[in-house]
Symmetry: C2
Subunit: 340 residues, 2 copies
DNA sequence: CTGTTAGCGCTTTCAC
DNA sequence: GTGAAAGCGCTAACAG
């Protein structure tokens, strides 16, 4: 059996209170002698407090839940790393929850985490969440009174703390970069349009076009889902529209585009320019290193944890919205438009 | 406040005992009427048992700890996914622990997980663990009496349940494939040689050479560390040794090799054949899809969870060693040896 | 300075 | 059929 505080009490002949006090540094008026004795005994007996018991009485577990769609997705894996790294620094732990982008799983994990007494939730909403579903999740967390911060995917109406990227700016910069290279027919492969971030990227795309007095054409916009396959599928459609460049709303989609183009014997960037979004690890080491918009997802994970813990410790729910600026990373997948 | 069992007691006028009994399906002799009433009340009051309290009395949390080096590494991300998926299926949770391959973190996480009352640990030892350190970890878990299963990285002496890949076979098949293509000077870039798995892959390499009556040459073996950089560094050395093919002990290293070769203007597989190990997601979508040895890491994660939970439920520590067979995945990075 | 006591939310033994 | 009571390991008022 593990040593308990009682064991120390028996061993030292002092009461559990005194022990608890000493071990928690709340021993303002305990004699140094007793303190030393207790500390020594605790060492000798190899005492470690039972965190379940502590959690039960203190209503604090120093544990957070991380809800995301899929850790095996590099982007989220980096998020998870940032989150866990920061938690470790603070002595906290993280319970990992994959929803596979299913909204009901968002809900059920929120409940389970509440049952386990987590102190907070880092919530990266599932992809299939429309506004109504998203609000449902938010309200559940609210009802459960668990501090939370939304990360990456957010919702205007939620009125909560969120850590996000200025996606409009990202979409804008990507498009502007393409425009600057002379491209005028720029296709895009979006993510799910229910998602705020996908909408924002599209807004940025439109804004860049407007600035150049170019009209926005529905036909150049292929509705994808952030998966590689959707990039793959988008190519045939966009090629028919005679685009000279494609802006994929995430890197994974860009890979799909790239693979399909290659399959069709088309070269990037000679025949077609390609730009991604996210800057996941592999984008750099590809044969044609991908020009992309970097989301500092690892740092965002860290920041989200900081906000969350700060909120928990202060006992208030912050409503800050921390916005990270995306960064255009120019590599080799974009070239000037071909002369006809 | 959350509804407690007491609230239901007040609400229904029945004792907490009865409620607990009913809610846990242990109500063999409670009248159907009372049962229904309690169940209904629980529903109405939105009752959910406090898992901390349950954990405290039952000494069961239905939570496991997953210790690995780095979730942002695709290989481990897949492991984590398999683990979490299987846990979810069983209604369990997983606490994620990244050690960054630091042995002291293995130790500290083991302690922390014990403090939190996890029911078991999935342990993927850190890279810097030599035999002594590894045993230290194992012994700590043992002392804490936590059921555990080692995954991917293992230790002969540990005498515990482990889920691993037959790495000798993997190394053998990779090498044999290269030999079959006519290669005779095959370089390898190993992982850390303290690791059992790296040793095994090398054994497989040797075995394949022996079968062809080829002598094993130290000079063709570059000691890497499973990182991309080590593949990068290995190239210059191995090229001097006039190898015609390189067997990288993991895909990440293979990418490094590939990148460096490209930098030097060498083509894979025309100038040099390359084979990896792991078959992580990206290997397939590279420009030159990587021939590699697949480790079914996702499935291994699932299996490890099954073993672990089985052990926990049965209350015994299984000492089974589940071995998965690796599979050679032939793609485009290996070609016949060039005629001089 | 230190100990007694109650209580966190639940399970479980035993008595009625 | 149901309830009282003890206890899991700990904290925190409150006494003394």
């Amino acid at each position: 059996m593990r040593t308990t505080i009682k064991d120390i009490a028996n061993y030292t002949g002092v009461s559990v209170t005194t022990i608890s006090l000493v071990l928690n540094n709340k021993a303002t008026k305990i004699s140094q002698q007793t303190k030393d004795m207790i500390l020594k005994a605790a060492q000798e007996l190899n005492y470690r407090p039972n965190q379940l018991a502590i959690g039960l009485v203190k209503k604090r577990t120093e544990t957070i839940g991380l809800i995301l769609s899929d850790v095996s997705n590099v982007f989220f894996a980096n998020l998870a790393k940032g989150v866990e790294d920061e938690c470790r620094r603070k002595g906290w732990n993280v319970v990992l929850c994959n929803t596979n982008d299913k909204h009901e799983r968002d809900l059920s994990y929120i409940q389970v985490l509440a049952d386990k007494g987590v102190d907070g939730i880092l919530f990266c909403m599932s992809k299939d969440s429309n506004k109504k579903k998203a609000m449902e999740s938010i309200q559940l967390i609210g009802k459960l009174k668990i501090p939370f911060v939304m990360i990456d995917r957010f919702l205007e109406e939620a009125d909560c703390c969120s850590v996000i990227v200025n996606h409009k700016q990202g979409g804008y910069e990507a498009t502007k970069h393409l425009l600057a290279q002379g491209h005028r027919r720029i296709g895009c492969v979006t993510g799910p349009m229910e998602l705020e971030d996908s909408k924002e990227r599209l807004k940025g795309y439109k804004k860049a076009l407007e600035e150049m007095n170019l009209s926005y054409k529905e036909d150049l916009v292929y509705k994808g889902d952030y998966n590689r396959e959707s990039g793959f599928r988008a190519v045939d459609h966009l090629l028919k529209q005679k685009v000279t460049a494609i802006f994929a709303f995430n890197d994974m989609t860009a890979y799909g585009v790239y693979n399909r183009l290659k399959q069709k014997g088309l070269d990037v960037p000679k025949d077609l320019s390609l730009i991604g979004y996210d800057d996941i690890f592999f984008s750099e080491i590809l044969d044609v290193p991908l020009t992309t918009v970097r989301q500092p997802i690892y740092d965002m994970g860290k920041e989200a944890v900081r906000q969350l813990i700060e909120g928990v410790e202060a006992g208030i729910d912050l409503k800050k919205c921390i916005t990270f600026e995306p960064k255009l990373i120019v590599r080799k997948s974009v070239a000037g438009v071909r002369k006809k």
